[in-house]
Symmetry: C2
Subunit: 375 residues, 2 copies
Amino acid sequence: MKLATLRNGARDGRLVVVSRDVTRATDAGAIAATLQDALDDWARVAPSLEALAAQLEIGAVPAERFHEHDALSPLPRAFQWLDGSAYVNHVELVRKARGAEMPPSFWSDPLMYQGGSDAFLAPRAPIQMADESFGIDFEGEAAVIIGDVAMGASREAAAAAIILILLVNDVSLRNLIPAELAKGFGFLQSKPSSAFSPVAVTPGELGPAWDGGKVHFPLRVSLNGAPFGRANAGVDMTFDFPTLIAHAAKTRPLTAGTIIGSGTVSNKGADGGPGRSIADGGLGYSCLAEIRTVETILMGAPKTPFMRFGDTVRIEMQDADGHSIFGAIEQTVERYAGAGRSCDAEVGESVPTASFVPASGGGPGPASSEDAPDA
Amino acid sequence: MKLATLRNGARDGRLVVVSRDVTRATDAGAIAATLQDALDDWARVAPSLEALAAQLEIGAVPAERFHEHDALSPLPRAFQWLDGSAYVNHVELVRKARGAEMPPSFWSDPLMYQGGSDAFLAPRAPIQMADESFGIDFEGEAAVIIGDVAMGASREAAAAAIILILLVNDVSLRNLIPAELAKGFGFLQSKPSSAFSPVAVTPGELGPAWDGGKVHFPLRVSLNGAPFGRANAGVDMTFDFPTLIAHAAKTRPLTAGTIIGSGTVSNKGADGGPGRSIADGGLGYSCLAEIRTVETILMGAPKTPFMRFGDTVRIEMQDADGHSIFGAIEQTVERYAGAGRSCDAEVGESVPTASFVPASGGGPGPASSEDAPDA
């Protein structure tokens, strides 16, 4: 079953069931108004949603064309977003670039941060930022949405709580990170609003590519239309999702609708060293920080710039037949026009927050004349 | 106006308006089913809630007795909980105790962490924890609930977004903090579920004690029935709430229902040094870590233990006439019986998460025979 949330003017949008080929949708409002409503009562509503999905596949219910650009993040706002760093290879690389040893405990004790979850960007919404000098980066990740998990839950109980799988662009402001982490309290300003894939799917939709803990498909990341990353989300993931969930639940319960991210997908090179770029015949990367790290290791300094106004990142995943599973995250970086005046406001709309976007707003707008694309 | 959320079996409870003297309540469901619903549409619903509050005061609407132990946290789950460390005195003290210099930037750049907001404890719910050795501590704080705030909002816009004021017990696991912060990603396991005061109030309820940025009343903290802290929340607060909100909104919008905490309330001593304990004629402390820090500075080692099973903390605030403003947070530490088996389950109930407690559960239960109280 595939689920999405369509923009309807309300903060949480409206729940739809999407066809397997991600082309058609049918309203699920008679079962649950929003995805959070469905997750709050999953055991009761899931069978009805599954039945609706089966009817949609055979054309037995009214359907509308599913437009990915009309989708909000499946949970436009969530009660919790916890992001792991499960590809420890990535962490080790980044440390290596700055000459720091990684503590051996990082291979056994998951890194995870509490992220902001109150205002996720729509999958096609621009990344509005006031200043390019923040070091704007994307992070391509897989994530799961879970049901209620009790404090102290076992890995097995955590695995059983996984309800949906989706993709994330965990937007990061690299040049704000060092000073913020030095303060000791984790990320805040350096991790602005993230965006999720248009569609979230039940594990069954992935067939054998879901082994109960990892997604065994390449994450397809493109930058300004060119392939940038094809790392396999099922490879080099040191901590699988059940392990990440159990880590999060050690001292507190987790409420239904909690989203757990994998951290930036990252594969080692064939020789066990840093992976090579796609141009260089490798699998590439799922964030700019990693290619800059590899450049630093190989050439003494980073060469690839962070995102500039006008740059576009696309993140998706295809099944074995080349069909899109989750739809695509596709976001262009735009200059933020200031509080009370967003780019949307330029076309005559007032947009108080990223999560509460009027029905016709929030899509990628025309590039501003101020944009300075960096191809 | 005073608002509370009563337990009704639903995850978000039901919204009631509470009388100024915190003794009576009237159902607000005809205006907004939950507090989050009200906050989502505050400009429209606030006048109706204010009118209902006025009617309640004069006895013109049906009222029920308001029992603080029936209240959930005003937002039983929230889309965001951001906690500052605005009493920089407290931060400096804690660092001093371990012989570390505090960077001068801490006086101008607020410390703030992204906290878990998916499952707040009820104000009278036990603090269930598997192990005393985690170093269980309370942190008495003030907090505000805000409306939508745009990215990059000014301090003035941030001030205008403050809707409600309340108190917090930010439960902390001191012995898990050093290792977790050393990993660099902030708090996760070391900050379990927090609890909020039974009642949240509009700024007008505080009269001149609210100056637009701070609450000028002592925070009354008691441990096992004995006075422990009387620090004034309006004194030594280096960063007021509008400053904290603007800091949080630098790179992202904040959605209505975001809660911003002050951090542990802490006052300097009369001589500008560490404050003295109440037993010693001082204003005392709002967390155990601070008295342990002072003990370390004065005596070379901490003397006061962290909370043990059976210990009870009470946090409240009184107006100039000695009347409770927010009701009281009162929580007893209990041994957590393990996933799938909580203390509530011992009396025949299944409690999946802290936030979703059946109508009759969640209150402080009888002390278990395993408890080892530390008076």
